[in-house]
Structure formats: C-alpha cells, structure tokens
C-alpha cells in the first residue's frame, strides 16, 4: 500500500511491537482501520495504516455541538422575537440569527462523520504520529522519549459512549498531542504502551 523510502522505514526492522503489549492487546476494529480517505501525500500514514478513532465520536460531537448551538442561538432569537414589538424590521434579525444557527448546525452535523474519520494515530518506530483535521490538517509527530505526561480523560458524554481522550504532554507548550475518542480499553492500552516506551527512551529535555 504505502511504499516508504528505506530511509524512513528501515526494512530489516521487524515490527512486532506495533501491536501493543500483551496485557491488553488491541483488537483493532477492522472498520476503524483503513485508508485515510482523501489524505494528501504529506499526511499519509507512516506505517501501513492509521488507526482511526471510534466512529462513535461523531455521535458524541453531534450531541455536544447541538447543545452548544441550542444555547448560543435559540434563546437569543426567541427573546429578541418577543421583546421587539411587531412591525419593526429589526425583528427579522432574530429569524436571521436562528437561520444562521440552523445552517451552522446542519453543516457541523454533516461534517461530523468526516471530521472524526480524519483523526487517527500510528506508531512510527520510536515516534507516535497523530493526524487530524479537514480544512486545516495536522500531523503531529511526538517521540516517545519526549513525552512527559500521558493523560487519559473522558467527560460524562464520552464516558456514556465508552470513549476516552488520550493527551500527550511534552516540555513544549506548542505540542498538541490529543487523540480524541478512543475506545476506553484502547486508550488505556495506548497509555501503557506510551509509558513503557517513554521509559525506555528516556530524556525529557
């Protein structure tokens, strides 16, 4: 699939550790593995494929986005509609605001699936790669040896769907290593893998 140059993927390197430690083996959902859809060349996976985040994250994002959209658009426009006396043309601003909100909500709703599908992570020898984003794509490459802290967190909504976020913290504030919405057991296994490898690699600064 991905023909890498020998420089970056030394062929003699057997990759037995790509699979996580035996204690909690990954069961990569075949539905999650797959081709990065529409990924342009710089964002191709470093190994054979990106491990995609759970598609359930799209549902979570839709729900939380709907709540925010409701809070942001509905009360303001309803209040404006009833406060401004009829006959004033300004009153239609409330409708415009609501229409804007609906349009934004529909757009986000449709995009949610593709947005979530754009996120993924992969291991490249001694680095962890995280890819994500649709308009603004990012591929973050973090060496295991540089990871200071690994956080696994999940809010109530994420927890209801059995998902967790995994966040990598390095000494650089600019590093943004968040893998959103991994299945909880995969998140824990990934955390253990990272801790094990970062211990082996050492050197934080």
């Amino acid at each position: 699939m991905q023909s890498q140059s020998p420089e970056f993927m030394p062929p003699p390197e057997p990759r037995p550790e790509v699979a996580p430690p035996p204690a909690a083996p990954f069961v990569p959902d075949p539905a999650l593995d797959g081709e990065p859809e529409g990924a342009t060349e710089p964002f191709a996976p470093p190994s054979d494929a990106w491990r995609r985040v759970s598609p359930k994250l799209a549902t979570v994002r839709r729900i939380s986005m709907s709540i925010w959209a409701f809070i942001f658009f509905v009360p303001a426009s309803v209040a404006a509609w009833f406060v401004i006396p009829p006959g004033e043309p300004v009153r239609w601003l409330a409708v415009v605001w609501l229409a804007l909100g609906v349009a934004w909500w529909v757009w986000r709703w449709i995009r949610a699936r593709r947005y979530v599908a754009s996120y993924g992570w992969a291991r490249r020898e001694k680095d962890l790669c995280i890819v994500g984003g649709l308009w603004f794509r990012n591929l973050e490459i973090v060496p295991f040896g540089r990871m200071q802290v690994v956080k696994v967190s999940s809010g109530p909504l994420l927890r209801a769907f059995g998902l967790s976020n995994v966040e990598l913290v390095t000494a650089s504030a600019a590093t943004n290593g968040v893998i959103p919405g991994l299945p909880a057991d995969e998140a824990k296994a990934l955390r253990d893998l990272i801790i094990e490898l970062s211990d082996a690699e050492g050197s934080g600064l």
Binding site: Q4, P6, F8, E41, F43, G145, T170, T175
Partner: protein, 524 residues
C-alpha cells in the same frame, strides 16, 4: 550581631580544605537597610533639608514639642513605617541562616514561620549575582539560585566578594565537579564581575548601547505618535489636543522603553569563566547572569529594519526556566546579545555551541508559488539543516532567524491549510520549549515537508542518543579549559536573503539522512 559569629566564617583562602566544609552564616547586617533604602533616604533627606534650611531642630530641645507639631504628618507615617520595617527586617535577618555543606544548600528561617528550604546541588540550574542600586553603593550583592520551574532561593544581601565566592562554589558543584568554598581569585567590583582567568568575548561600549536603543522603529513610532498631536495643537492652537489623548502615558512608554534598553543593557560584557558563560550588565543595578550553555533550547537572531542598515543584530536565547525579555528581574533575561556586529554574533553563538558554523548553513528558499501566501517576507524566508541544528528565517521588515539544535527538538508537526493544499504546499513546525513560537518552516513543497519532518525526527533522536552518551554538561568543562575555545573562522552571512536554488523535493545535500524519497510516493 556579627554575622560571622554564627558560623566558622569565611574560610582561609588558598588552602585545599578538608572535605566537610560547612558554611553557616547569616546575611549581611545591612540587609534590612538596603531593603528599605527608599524610606530611610526619604527620612534622612527630610532631616537634612530641615537642618539646612535653618531649622535647627536639635539645638533648641526645649521647643522640641512645638517643633514636632510643625513637622508634616507624612514624616510620621514614613518614620513609623521605616521603624516598623527595620524591626521586622532585623527580626527576619536574625532568624535567617544559610548553610552550605558538602551535599546541599539550605536556607533556614526560624522566625514566625519555621521554614527550611533545601536545594540539592544537582538541582541547581544557575546561580546569578545581582547588585541592586542601593546594595551596589554599599558593596553588597544578592545571590539568586535558580532551580528551574519552582521558585529558588535568594540570598540578599551578602558582601560582594562573598556573594561571588558562593556563586562560584555553587556553580562548580552544580556542574558535578568538586570544589572548596575557599576559592580565591575572583574580585567583583561595583563595575565588573571578572577574575583573572576570565576571557572577555564581547564588550559593548555605551555608544553602541545608546545607538541600539534609539535605532528601533517602535521608539520612532512612539515619538511620532507623541509629536503629531503636539505639532497639530501648536499649529491650530488646540491646547486640548496637545495635552489630552494620553500624552503622559505615551511619554512614559517612551521613557520606559528607552530606559529598559539603556539602563538594563549598559556596560554589557560577555565573558567565558570557569563556571560557564557570564553576562554582566546594568547601569544602576548590575546583574551578572550565568548562561547554562547546554540548556539553551533555541537562539533567535533579530534584525529590525534600522539595524539591518547599521549591520547589527540581536541574539535572544530560550533557556528553560528563564523569564521573558520583559522579565522585571533582568537576571532572568533572555536577551543574550543586545546589539552586535556579525563577528560579535558569531563569537557569542560559538560560545554556546562551539561546533556551530553559521556561515556554512545553506539556506534554501520555499517554492516560488509560496509567494502567493507570503508576498512580503518570501524573499527572506528559508530554512537550513545541518548535522547539528535546524535554522528558520522569517519576517519582512523585522527579520528573524531561529536556530534550534536537533537534540532540543520536542516534536514536529506538519500542517496544511486550504490555500496551501491548493498550491501543493505544507508547513513544518519544529517545536521546542522556546518562547519565540516562531520555529515554523512555512510553505514547503508538500512531499518535501513530509520528508523534512520525518528526517528531522530521526536526526533529533540520533542527537539525543549522542548527548546521552556524551553529556554536554560535563563536556562544557573541557571546552572552557581550552583557551582557544572560540575559533572564529568566518563571519556569518546574516544579512542577505537565501539565494540557494529552490529546493529539490528532497532535504538538502548536507545531511546524509535526507537523500531519500524518490519523488512522491505512489498513491496510497
């Protein structure tokens, strides 16, 4: 009340002391005075002037009560404050002791709050000596012990010579070498902080400092903003305009900006000492700062427009734990070289990274089509990679050049926005713990960006491993011992835009790692 009475006192110099050297001392007894010098001076000023004006308060003591009623109320306020402050200060002085023995540094306070702060030598990042104005007049100095993230310890105040002795001892111990506390030979004065073995690398004259302060655009913009309403008000007789509009604030801003550059950087000296690189500077408050060379995360060269015409540049460094350039306490300043010619820049850079050959870096441009995204700064934009560092150039009027050693890279990011995608470009952000936030190589050819980022990770890992095998903290000692530590080979070309040919789709020819990626990989 003798500070030396509490402990063995200063050790006899010159003798190699037996291992259990233990210093247990109080701070200097003038410490509370120095901390309150403004109040003391104000009070003394009042007494002096009233005496000079023919109010001999002290001669007619029978009218003392009447005289006392003539004294304005603020004098009592200041006087009471000073007395209270001095009392509290002496209480604190009496109950504070510092202990330095073979394994640790301890600052003990047995006053109202019992506190014992212990700092292991291996945790000490750097030790600086500061001489605030009042302390400097009295021959005192303050020792700041920096331990990185948490707040370190501050010994204020000690006799100047004692402060430098303790600083040198702590620095030597922090570098993992053994030393005795009675190391002679360092004689700090009110003007300088140097010893016989020191090698002065760069010294700036007052004229250069003044030139650097006035040759910045923001001073002239502020002066313009100050002058235009004033001239308009004078021409059209709008007195309101002349004095309204925050004129006072602007004047203060100009003065503050000028004084920060003039007073803070005055008498700048960069010297190589046995304990490391040392910067000494300051007109009123003399600050002496030791740069831990192996902890420098990134260096930034900056050239405002006017400086480019003058042929000068400024160096900033990022060291973990140092504050920003506006740090109130300038001993944690990130300004490494405030103003320098290319030769001085090269000397200063070589002092941090001895092997760095700035003039050998080959800067490469981004593709011509990136001009659409950066019409103004495209001429200056470029990047260079060699086996030790990666360098990035950015900026239009204010040109910047950031140099990051591979061993200090934290992570790398490839990013691509919608316009970049349309043009087939991508950006690589080499992230370190810098405060500049500018180490992004923008708008590279997309496959080139990926190859560069991946190769950069490999180089970073290799340099990291090399560093673990050969820790630079210990290596610095041998470099410092070498009298010809700084070899000035050529003057770096800091001034011309990168004229190297447009990059091929590959990382540059200098690195052995990057000769890969035969064109874009086949469809994924």
């Amino acid at each position: 009340m003798n500070p030396d009475a509490a402990g063995p006192g200063p050790q006899p110099p010159g003798q190699p002391l037996p291992p259990p050297v233990r210093i247990e001392e109080r701070l200097h007894p003038l410490t509370p005075f120095v901390n309150l010098w403004l109040g003391v001076v104000a009070l003394a000023w009042f007494v002096l002037t009233s005496a000079l004006q023919g109010d001999p308060i002290w001669e007619d003591l029978d009218q003392f009560g009447a005289r006392l009623q003539d004294v304005p109320w603020w004098v009592f306020l200041v006087g009471g404050g000073v007395v209270l402050g001095l009392g509290a200060g002496y209480w604190g002085w009496w109950t504070t002791k510092f202990v330095i023995d073979d394994t640790e540094f301890r600052l003990e306070n047995t006053g109202a709050y019992q506190e014992s702060k212990r700092i292991a030598f291996s945790r000490i990042q750097s030790v600086d000596v500061t001489q605030p104005f009042a302390a400097r007049l009295l021959g005192l100095a303050q020792v700041n012990i920096d331990v990185g993230a948490e707040d370190g310890a501050k010994l204020s105040f000690l006799k100047r010579a004692r402060a430098t002795e303790i600083r040198d001892y702590l620095m030597t111990r922090a570098h993992g070498r053994s030393a005795t506390t009675g190391d002679p030979g360092r004689t700090a004065s009110a003007w300088d902080d140097s010893a016989r073995g020191d090698q002065v690398l760069v010294r700036l004259t007052p004229g250069e400092i003044i030139l650097s302060a006035f040759a910045t655009m923001d001073i002239w913009f502020m002066a313009l903003a100050f002058a235009v309403p004033w001239v308009l008000g004078w021409m059209f007789d709008w007195s309101v305009l002349a004095w309204g509009g925050g004129m006072a604030g602007l004047a203060l801003a100009i003065l503050g900006s000028l004084s920060k550059r003039l007073f803070g950087q005055f008498n700048y000296t960069l010297a190589r000492t046995p304990a490391g690189l040392r910067i000494t500077r300051g007109l009123f408050t003399l600050r002496s700062q030791t740069i831990p060379a192996h902890r420098v995360q990134a260096v930034q060269t900056r050239q405002p427009l006017l400086w480019r015409w003058l042929g000068r540049a400024r160096l900033d460094i990022t060291v973990l734990g140092l504050g920003g350039e506006d740090a109130e306490d300038l001993s944690t300043s990130t300004i490494y070289l405030p103003f320098g010619t290319p030769a001085q820049v090269q000397v200063a850079l070589a002092a941090i990274w001895p092997g760095l050959r700035l003039e050998h870096l080959q800067f490469r441009r981004t593709p011509e089509r990136a001009r659409w995204l950066d019409p103004l700064q495209w001429r200056w934009m470029g990047h260079a990679v060699d086996e030790r560092v990666v360098a990035v150039r950015q900026g239009w009027l204010h040109r910047r050049q950031i140099i990051v050693p591979h061993a200090r890279l934290q992570s790398v990011r490839i990013s691509q926005g919608p316009f970049e995608r349309r043009l087939g470009l991508a950006s690589v952000d080499a992230q370190t713990t810098d405060a500049f936030g500018m180490s992004s190589i923008n708008h590279l050819d997309a496959p080139h960006a990926r190859a560069l980022a991946l190769a950069e990770m490999d180089r970073a890992r290799m340099s990291r491993v090399n560093e673990l095998l050969d820790p630079p903290g210990l290596r610095a000692a041998s470099v410092a011992a070498d009298p010809a530590g700084v070899v000035l080979v050529g003057v770096p070309d800091l001034w011309t835009p990168p004229t190297a040919p447009l990059p091929a789709a590959l990382p540059g020819p200098t690195e052995p790692l990057g000769a890969a990626v035969q064109g874009p990989t086949p469809d994924q």
